[in-house]
Symmetry: D4
Subunit: 219 residues, 8 copies
């Protein structure tokens, strides 16, 4: 009664609906996950606590929990070549939650993912050292908390879209990620677009769409 799964989203948008587990009970999440699994598609639940993950895995044993990403995935589609290339960059070790949410999402949706972590702007040589790996990507996801300066710097180095993910890493005047969010919205690099604080999932969803276009063009 309480849930209407949007089964035909895949038809409209090319990617399946995804479960937002936060604010749902373990039982509710497991039930929705199982119904979507029964439909035969790949399934993703985001922002899943360990307790929710356990309930899902009890209901759908083939599912996998990614604790750093707080995500549960179920891979049911056939293996195929990676469609496009997404780089996931983050500023510091504390941004791993958002970065891994992005990486796990993009991998489930068939993108090739390169992780470039702990390359914050206070030690610029670390970013310059991975410049060639950046140049390979069709789209770059950049996760950063505190002042959120990294997307602007990356945006100036690459010729592809940069999707900026502000993270809630920081304290005091970071206001739980609001400082990073504002910084990214005001980026002076014009190829920077922004998603919600800690929304690695949304960044990867859109990045996958873009990478796929880039990939298909190469064929």
């Amino acid at each position: 009664g309480h849930t209407r799964i949007d089964h035909h989203r895949a038809l409209r948008t090319g990617l399946p609906e995804v479960i937002y587990a936060q604010g749902k009970s373990s039982a509710q999440t497991a039930e929705i996950f199982a119904r979507m699994a029964a439909a035969g598609t790949d399934v993703l639940a985001t922002r899943a606590s360990e307790e929710i993950a356990e309930a899902v895995l009890a209901a759908v044993p083939a599912a996998v929990y990614h604790p750093q990403a707080r995500a549960v995935t179920l891979k049911q589609s056939a293996d195929k070549a990676r469609e496009g290339h997404v780089a996931v960059v983050c500023a510091g070790t504390s941004d791993l939650t958002a970065a891994e949410e992005a990486a796990v999402t993009a991998e489930l949706f068939h993108a090739q993912v390169t992780r470039l972590y702990d390359v914050g702007v206070a030690g610029l040589h670390r970013l310059l050292a991975v410049r060639e790996q950046l140049a390979d990507a069709d789209v770059v996801i950049v996760c950063a908390g505190m002042e959120g300066a990294l997307p602007s710097v990356v945006g100036g180095l690459v010729g592809v879209p940069v999707i900026a993910v502000p993270t809630s890493v920081g304290y005091g005047a970071s206001f739980d990620g609001a400082a990073a969010l504002l910084g990214m919205l005001n980026s002076c690099s014009p190829n920077v677009v922004v998603v919600n604080i800690d929304n690695g999932f949304g960044a990867a969803y859109t990045a996958t769409m873009i990478a796929r276009m880039a990939h298909r063009k190469r064929e």
Copy 2:
């Protein structure tokens, strides 16, 4: 002395540097515009008042002023086929400034542009009536003020990235576009990414990068 034009940005990123005219004097803007024009590339100045535009056109007579978009352009590149397809959607007549800034930018950067204006969510049939035109686009830019609900609805209808531009249209609790910005950042459609309030330019810059990938794939 005061300005260092980033001439090799086009090499790094595939698109030229662009002049942000607001907060510059007419003389400063005209001088920078002329120097970039002399370099032989296409030139774009955004957020240009009528007064600034006059100074630019006096210095570079081949430039064109687009008053609704507050933009000055100079086309110097050879004509070529449009590279990819960008739809520019807006919610109401009052959002035209941002929408036209986006459209003029995308056209200068060789994208094909379809304008779909005044299709706000309070009269949904207007949006549903242009659904086929939407389906054609490689990427959709959606400009909306007030509650900023339109990108979520568009995002659910299409299978391509949606770049949301909150506009400063509204009054009171719109807080000069902050309400629309927050709404778009919290979109439940996961293919929605966001740029700054009234930043039609940045939306179009990124959209052009995406559309170009999509276009090349079709060839």
Copy 3:
């Protein structure tokens, strides 16, 4: 000593006073509930934790706890025909707390209630599928978190007042419901009025007043 129950509110306003349990101790809430029960009217306590509910039910065994709605009700008035028709709509499964608070309140106050849940704007066909049920209502309550776009869309589809309830569902830039609140206040549908974040109770209280007028007119 500490509490002055407003017993003659029912005379002034047609509906009884209601207990706001949050910030009261279990003992205080149970005592007030019992005094109102003794007065012979219907009684409602909102925002009641499980612990408070237990104390109330110990004092007034005929009371009923609605855990999803966090409400305790006591029905003492005679059964009569439903007076008017309230539709309660919500965007996602996570908005159920506010929606159920509204539904339970409206039912206690003699309205007929239709629940239309999980019809968020990212999958518009779900809302269009319940359009006829919406058309039947005298007033519509719409609960939504995140971007809070649903009331604007519903407002454009119906010819009756829409009472929008922003919910605290979301994270990051949802700012605990502030984003949804601002969106709803700026709705471009002019038949949308707004109550506090998560205030399903207030929405239902006012909706009941409106529905009753509509009902009586039909007789």
Copy 4:
């Protein structure tokens, strides 16, 4: 090209579309007004400056400008009995703009309107003196700036819905009406619902819908 008038809104919602003149040019507003006038319905343009009003009256000489309300109206429907009764209350002389926008709107839409002005809570006897007139209304619109306390007090006196309009009257920590808005959203009177700052129009639109129901019941 730039405007799609929602002509069938009246069919869907019972009341015609309304022109939001702010942010439109005089020419645009006059053109839209004239097209709607040609359709034979009543027409309303809100937030119209004197300059816009002149352009509209030049195009449609039968239109009327209400300067205190900043509204232009055109009455084309046949005269009929007033449908329901709306009281418009305001706290101080400075709140007249919002109050008159509400009153003019409600009158155009066939409601009977009673104006009760300058009855702020700092001199309570003024409000108590008009208590009987309040008791007659089917719905009450209350406009107040500064601390926005008036709707709570009115809400406790009447048994009908109160639509609260925060106004931008005040200075300093009124933050252009935000203080009044927040106060009204937190009203401890549960029959208070809220619209945007200075949105007398939206309050009257919804009030008219409610009053019409009440009116028809009386017949």
Copy 5:
């Protein structure tokens, strides 16, 4: 080492220094309390948790804990006639913490205190019923959360200063008392002054100074 008690504050200001226990450890608070007790004056510690209170009472057995007020007091001064009259008014049962902090403070500082609780503006007759008791006070402290309207109404009824204490009672758009605070700062009653959210202590400290002046005049 870490604390310099301001022992000569009483000389400068007529009232002793007071311990702000929040953010201090139990040991620190007890030590400071004991040192001040040893100086022979009355002692007050505010915002003391139960745990802190226990440590203080262990060190100074003559001290008294007031749990609803979260205050620990030690009375060492000689009994004397009450100096002036402070009324403490609150809007609802949930505001008791701030109200009792005020009442306990004023009593320790020799004022006569009248408690007038649960007289919120949604049921105005309750306030009007205690009007005579209000008229007796030399100064009135008004504690209210949610919309914070009560001080404006009280301010219009009395001819003495009103000290408004916004409380953190409420949810959603009350923003932990910010809505009430803003309302009170914008009061249209010009005899209303304001202190920090939940600062019953500061209100009573100043009220006591005022009441003492009024009292001495009567002699």
Copy 6:
């Protein structure tokens, strides 16, 4: 029609109603001023522009305009001894508008006023130099913009109530006086109470009430 003067406020509260001229037209203000003048009391209009002042003086030639205070006064009461002593302190030359509004108001209401200007905390010796004059006052009004630190320092030096007036003096992160307002609300001197930004009038109104009590006691 539009204005109900609260003539019996003086009976209730001991001080007459005051006209808030901002947001009123010159004609409206002059008319209200004249009606109150005709009643024979002292009259005060605050926040009056030069244009409004001219209209008032045309209607009531005995009125006086105080441009630095933006106030118009009319003295009609008999001369009598000053009732109590108010010190008005300000931090810098730019705070004079608020300080003079306070001083003019207090003088009209029969208080003795001592002005102590430009004694900001960055040069503490200036404040210490006027310490004796401070010690004489029954109540102190302190106006300060920027960081708003002065009331805390003054509060620690005197044994009477301090009414803090945050001013809109400053730029950037002063946010039009919000920084000073917040600082004053968090004062660690417990005898500091606060009014709205730039509200010298309200501070003086309350200060006059307090000073009068202090004065009468001395007799």
Copy 7:
């Protein structure tokens, strides 16, 4: 009467008092400037409009107006060798007002100043190109608007203090410099300290103190 110049500040702090011209009249500013000039020290007035500057120059013909910096200076001290070295860096041409205010202030106070302008992070090679000039400075002032990322990057490149000046350059979600301010406060480079938005003056005042120490050490 209205102004107490802090003449002995130079004794206490080593640098003279400075006039904050904003919010003062031309006459007031000129009078204070002349009195300080008469005392024989160097004089600086900041945030001076052209109109104010004219009044000052009329009173003190030896003074100089710096329009880009909005500053008036009077040099009366003997020439001496520059004491320490301050680099002033800015992100874009639009940040010149703050940067020049800093440069003019530091030069008046005897520092050697190197200007490094338009080196924003979106084109990193421009900053890397001036790295050697940066390495020479004893302290670096960095002015940047929009996302305010530049101080973090500079902070990671140098081994001296960086004083960050957020500027009000930008639009929309820059919120008049608040975004840049928050970014700088959250800098992950630990040698970054921050001053108010557009406060080039304060940055230079402190930088001069630091540079002087560094300079003297070299001797």
Copy 8:
């Protein structure tokens, strides 16, 4: 994989990289700490909970935990004379966490540290009593919560830079330190620069750089 230690920061900036422990697991922190210890430098981890500290000390037994400062340090450099003099001042006992974080950091980095605690502005004589000790410092760190007034007062007394650390001490309208932060940014003492809320570490890092310059000059 997840962490790239910036080992050559000491070369670039003269001070080693520091571990930000918050948001890292105990295992991650201990591992990074051990790797840095192995490099032979001094090591500092800030914002370390007791649990994290235990893990670090288990891995590196020579490390020391400072619970009040929430810091873990490892001293490996040779002892040498203190380089420069830093005073650490705080307003109240509750500000000790930030003050001790600053003091421990400065001591590890070879500065001489003088602690001057509990000298808030409400009892000014306490600050004036330590004036001579203040005069000795090369740079002053001032930690204060609530209204954050102390840095302005200190700034007016000394001729060296003041680094202001707003603390999260307070409640209600302190908004977790935002009030103190805003106050400090608007300081009317021009030698005040600011760091993030509770960022004693950053203040000490920069202070050490400054003190070292001052120290070397004295040699």
